[in-house]
């Protein structure tokens, strides 16, 4: 059994702790008494992954074996998660490749001719050929790309089908090919509890019309948290579940394959980043110093390239296949085993170091809006039951928040940052006043469809992701953040952690309790 998660209480013996800050990192001393939440150690990897996949396909949960579902003359669509998973990208062979090869092998053996592969990009950018090749492997790529392996297009109205509307008035519009297939096989990587389940097909293969019912401020404010998909806890998951049910009721047959990975995030020589600091060897300490020096000295472009080339040596910890709900239940259990750490009570201040990569800046730039999404959207929500920080508390993040955008990937982000956020940071106002305009802008639609741009509405969703945190927190302070960018986001910038604590004192008092969520590797605080 691997070591469970752990909450450290900083004492005088505690060494300085590693804190990520974008494309950089530091060792930071924390005040005595600070609680530090560490994830469980990496779960043991499955040695025979192909064997586990074959077993999952042959003995699925609440479904017939995949081989029995495949028949000559049928229409088979295989959809799989896009570049936003896992983070950082997985060292080859990617788990999607291994699963796809087994599925396609079965299809070939069963005489299925009409097979299409779709990257479930939803409103994300189209993956490039190289990125697809890395995800699916050379054999699948050579056999299917580009004719039968395509990115989903949420703006190709000729190829979108309105399957129906839920009892809550949510339109379920998905990729026509998928909707008309005899079977959809969805291949998922479940990195966090938010992923997978009914969020795969109804969102991954949806149009803007199909995404809008749950990607909105009201839903976000009632999702406490996104990482807790139990019914009644997360409005977004409840909505997705309704959509999933509607698809099922309308005869859309989905065979879900979900996989979980352990939290072996950083490869050597960055292995020290996976360890608890007091367990660092002398070699780890020397590596830290060398890496820190090299990273600080490197020109920003080179530094960016080095970080973006990191491929994680994840181990596969679980493969489950079958009915979406039955599969997802098992997936979540495995995921929680890897990520859940019990924390007693809330604190006045929550501290996080934001890493260099989030779901939407793989091979790209983490612009200020993505910083907002990663910090207040994802990391704030890495909890079950209640947030790590008390209502009205402060959140301190470490990140340089550079005023920098990827012009190809994030064109609408630039305008959103310049035009919308300069007017207001209130999510509801932004939604009602600006969303439609950006969502329907023909230039953004063109760039989404023909270039590699995120959909025009995507920066809005990034802002909504943080709506719950914005509503909940009393103060957001960014250590080392660009003051102009922070000001635009409605944050405050501090030059040092000590200054940030001083500033937070105005909100939470002079002797605050502090909890540092030590990520990555990711951990979900189960706050009691």
């Amino acid at each position: 059994m691997t070591r469970p998660g752990f909450v450290l209480e900083v004492d005088e013996r505690t060494p300085p702790l590693l804190v990520h800050e974008g494309e950089g990192f530091r060792l930071q001393r924390f005040p005595l008494g600070t609680r530090v939440v560490y994830p469980p150690d990496p779960l043991r990897r499955i040695k025979d992954v192909r064997g586990a996949i074959r077993h999952a396909l042959a003995e699925p949960h609440d479904a017939e074996p995949l081989a029995d579902l495949l028949k000559p003359g049928m229409k088979l669509t295989v959809a799989f998660d896009d570049i936003s998973l896992p983070l950082p990208p997985m060292r080859a062979p990617d788990i999607r490749q291994l699963v796809l090869e087994e599925v396609i092998e079965l299809a070939a053996r069963k005489g299925v001719e009409d097979v299409k592969l779709v990257v479930a990009t939803s409103l994300h950018r189209r993956m490039t050929a190289d990125e697809i090749k890395h995800a699916v492997g050379e054999r699948v790529y050579r056999s299917f790309y580009p004719r039968d392996l395509t990115n989903h297009d949420a703006e190709d109205h000729a190829n979108l089908t309105l399957v129906g509307t839920t009892d809550k008035g949510e339109d379920v519009e998905i990729n026509t090919r998928a909707a008309q297939s005899d079977l959809i096989v969805y291949v998922n990587i479940n990195l966090v509890a938010m992923d997978g389940g009914h969020k795969s097909v109804p969102v991954g293969l949806a149009s803007y019309r199909g995404v809008r019912p749950h990607h909105n401020v009201s839903t976000m404010l009632h999702s406490k948290s996104y990482m807790d998909p139990r019914p009644g806890h997360s409005a977004i998951h409840d909505s997705c579940a309704r959509m999933g049910k509607l698809l099922k009721d309308n005869g859309v047959r989905i065979f879900t394959i979900e996989t979980t990975l352990n939290n072996q995030v950083f490869p050597e020589p960055f292995g020290f980043m996976n360890k608890r600091e007091w367990e660092w060897s002398v070699k780890d300490q020397a590596t830290y110093l060398a890496a820190k020096k090299a990273n600080d000295m490197a020109p920003s472009k080179l530094r960016h390239q080095v970080w973006m080339r990191i491929e994680s040596p994840y181990g596969v910890t679980g493969v489950n296949a079958g009915d979406t709900e039955a599969v997802h239940e098992r997936t979540l259990a495995r995921l929680h085993q890897q990520q859940l750490t019990e924390v007693n009570g809330q604190s006045d201040i929550m501290v996080v170091g934001l890493p260099y990569v989030g779901p939407y800046n793989v091979n790209s730039i983490m612009n200020p809006i993505l910083v907002h999404c990663l910090g207040l959207g994802y990391l704030f929500n890495m909890y079950r039951n209640k947030p790590v920080v008390r209502p009205g508390g402060a959140m301190i993040m470490f990140h340089p928040v550079p005023w920098e955008f990827h012009q190809v990937h994030h064109p609408s982000y630039v305008d959103f940052f310049e035009e919308v956020l300069s007017e207001t940071t209130d999510p509801s106002t932004i939604e009602s006043k600006y969303e439609q305009q950006y969502a329907a802008d023909p230039w953004y639609v063109h760039l989404y469809r023909k270039s590699h741009a995120y959909h025009g509405v995507h920066p809005f969703y990034m802002w909504y992701w943080g709506a719950h945190a914005l509503d909940y927190l009393g103060d957001v302070i960014v250590v080392g953040g660009n003051p102009k960018s922070c000001d635009r986001l409605g944050y405050r910038a501090a030059s040092s952690f000590r200054d940030a604590l001083e500033m937070a004192g105005e909100t939470v008092g002079r002797s605050p309790s502090i909890t540092y969520l030590h990520v990555p590797p990711l951990t979900i605080a189960d706050v009691r």
């Binding site: 070591r3 752990f6 450290l8 209480e9 900083v10 004492d11 013996r13 505690t14 060494p15 300085p16 530091r26 060792l27 001393r29 608890r276 007091w278 367990e279 660092w280 300490q285 830290y288 110093l289 820190k292 020096k293 600080d296 250590v479 080392g480 003051p483 030059s495 040092s496």
Partner: protein
């Protein structure tokens, strides 16, 4: 205001202080039960037992350590004649109440014996950081031994005995907290039985009063210390290590008795089974420490002018 970048020197200082370079690594208190024991890596010590290592040790012991200890304390040595006629390897065992003990034994042993003697030192204390490991290996011919025992704890000791090395072992396992002799652990007796090697008991009297646990320099006033070598004990055929361990404790108790009274009186008491125990007085802890730290009498007549 742009954040001030920390210089590399500051970064190194931060790491050095935070990770306690040169000091014993520490685990945060509430992480102790969640932290696995460090890897069983053994600091290499064979280099300290080479010809060059031994020459260096002799030079350090005789030119630095002995003058230092002899200047700060007043050691006297008795019973070295008990080593006559013996051949290595033997195991020197002693009560252990001070950091002076190993130095006192090594600097009082005849050169031919010292030259082939190594000291068993607790791995968790003497081999925790590189400089302490190097010092222990070089100056004491030290080699790491696991206090907790275990199957592999004595592997290195056995190798050394097979190579003809004498060992200095403190069967108590750690320094006495109050000056009185603690219970002997059986590891040393088991080793002696397994390797069928003689055991030479040594009583070090007064070292606790001179430099107790917690001090790193002797008390002022050149406190007296007496080092008494006893008659070697040979494991008897079919003797268990528990029985040998008892004999070892008894022999050291007799040496203490001899120091307090005389050889003749100590022998008679031993025959009657009345040798005073070394466990110290029962009762409050302070009483044990108080009695244990009582300075021992100086040998000989007091000077006329005092």
């Amino acid at each position: 205001m742009a954040p001030k970048k920390r210089s590399f020197a500051d970064e190194v200082r931060n790491v050095a202080e935070g990770f306690r370079w040169g000091r014993r690594p520490a685990v945060p208190r509430n992480a102790e039960s969640h932290t696995p024991p460090p890897e069983r890596w053994a600091f290499p010590t064979d280099w300290a037992r080479t010809e060059a290592g031994r020459a260096a040790r002799d030079a350090i012991l005789l030119l630095v350590m002995k003058p230092l200890v002899w200047n700060e304390t007043s050691p006297e040595v008795f019973g070295l004649d008990n080593l006559e006629g013996m051949r290595p390897p033997v195991m020197f065992i002693s009560n252990h109440s001070s950091h002076l003990d190993a130095t006192l034994i090594l600097t009082t042993l005849p050169p031919t014996w010292r030259n082939k003697t190594a000291t068993a030192a607790a791995k968790d204390y003497f081999f925790d950081v590189w400089w302490r490991s190097a010092f222990t290996a070089l100056v004491y011919g030290g080699f790491p031994i696991e206090r907790g025992g275990g199957e592999r704890a004595t592997d290195k000791a056995k190798d050394l005995i097979r190579d003809g090395w004498n060992l200095i072992v403190f069967p108590e396992g750690t320094r006495s907290p109050d000056g009185w002799v603690q219970r002997f652990r059986h590891g040393s007796a088991r080793l002696a039985v397994e390797m069928d090697m003689p055991v030479v008991p040594i009583a070090i009297v007064g070292a606790y009063a001179a430099m107790p646990k917690g001090r790193f320099w002797p008390m002022p006033g050149r406190p007296p210390i007496r080092v008494r070598y006893g008659l070697p004990l040979h494991p008897r055929p079919d003797e268990t290590h528990q029985a040998l361990s008892l004999r070892m404790q008894q022999s050291i108790a007799e040496l203490f008795d001899e120091d307090r009274t005389s050889w003749w009186e100590a022998r008679r008491r031993a025959e009657r089974g009345e040798t005073p125990k070394l466990a110290g007085p029962a009762g409050a802890r302070w009483r044990r420490t108080w009695e244990g730290s009582r300075p021992i009498r100086r040998s000989g007549e007091p000077p006329a002018w005092r």
